[in-house]
Symmetry: D2
Subunit: 88 residues, 4 copies
Amino acid sequence: MAQVTNEDLKARLARVEGQIRGVSKMLDEGKYCIDVLDQITAARRALEKVALLVMSRHMNSCVKKAMAEGRGETLTDELVQSLDKFLR
Amino acid sequence: MAQVTNEDLKARLARVEGQIRGVSKMLDEGKYCIDVLDQITAARRALEKVALLVMSRHMNSCVKKAMAEGRGETLTDELVQSLDKFLR
Amino acid sequence: MAQVTNEDLKARLARVEGQIRGVSKMLDEGKYCIDVLDQITAARRALEKVALLVMSRHMNSCVKKAMAEGRGETLTDELVQSLDKFLR
Amino acid sequence: MAQVTNEDLKARLARVEGQIRGVSKMLDEGKYCIDVLDQITAARRALEKVALLVMSRHMNSCVKKAMAEGRGETLTDELVQSLDKFLR
């Protein structure tokens, strides 16, 4: 996987924002709750994808560098803690 | 829990949008990946809260009505399917 | 969806237990971490399916009954709180 | 975080198995659905903790080694893909 750029991440985030605005619009239009929920699910999924890309970039840059310098474990712990929050 | 209004849901969604714009800004400012991840986690969590509120409202309105009319099971199945997508 | 029976739920739980024992065995055999993770993912997914079935049954029995008796909102709140814990 | 041992992981998995057997027992005893759900949530959470520990160990061993040998990106991609499955 090629390193993801800030531009790519920001384009993805802009799309998530658009999806969330779409949810607001669906509420205004009185769309059916289940359709609203499914749209929230899509936005959430897209947001998780951004998180995974940030994580991947972090591992291939900061964590990699830290490992080369013998500080890998600290960054791994930090990442796992952040993941833990993400899962919950 | 009082029935949630569209206004409340939309205010929450606007805050999520703000959080996501905040993530973009953090990327622009070169903020540390872990801080970016934690901000994404916060936005995702806020979005899940909206989903739960929509679900709750759905149960107290559409599902309740359907149950009174003997069509409850169809709507329950539909909701569980939507939840299934949400979980995965 | 036909009402799920305790027997079905217990058979599913027994399979999850088997999957988890399988993870232990993979650790003993020194299997590759990613394969271990994927097996944990499968067990977790199967466990979530049980949760969804319990939720579905709950809605079609207790919640339905409560709604007919005008106590629907209390049970809906309770279910949403439990879902909230489940999500996080 | 000290490297987690297979023994620790297996002890955790054994506890998860116990929790899942507990869910079966609760079903047998006709326990209230919400209490069953909360117990499933606890088991799922404990299982996710095992996944995080496996991931952490993987990063501090296999991924670290691969990075030192210039094969880091392949393993990072692999881990992110596995995480992606885990999240969904």
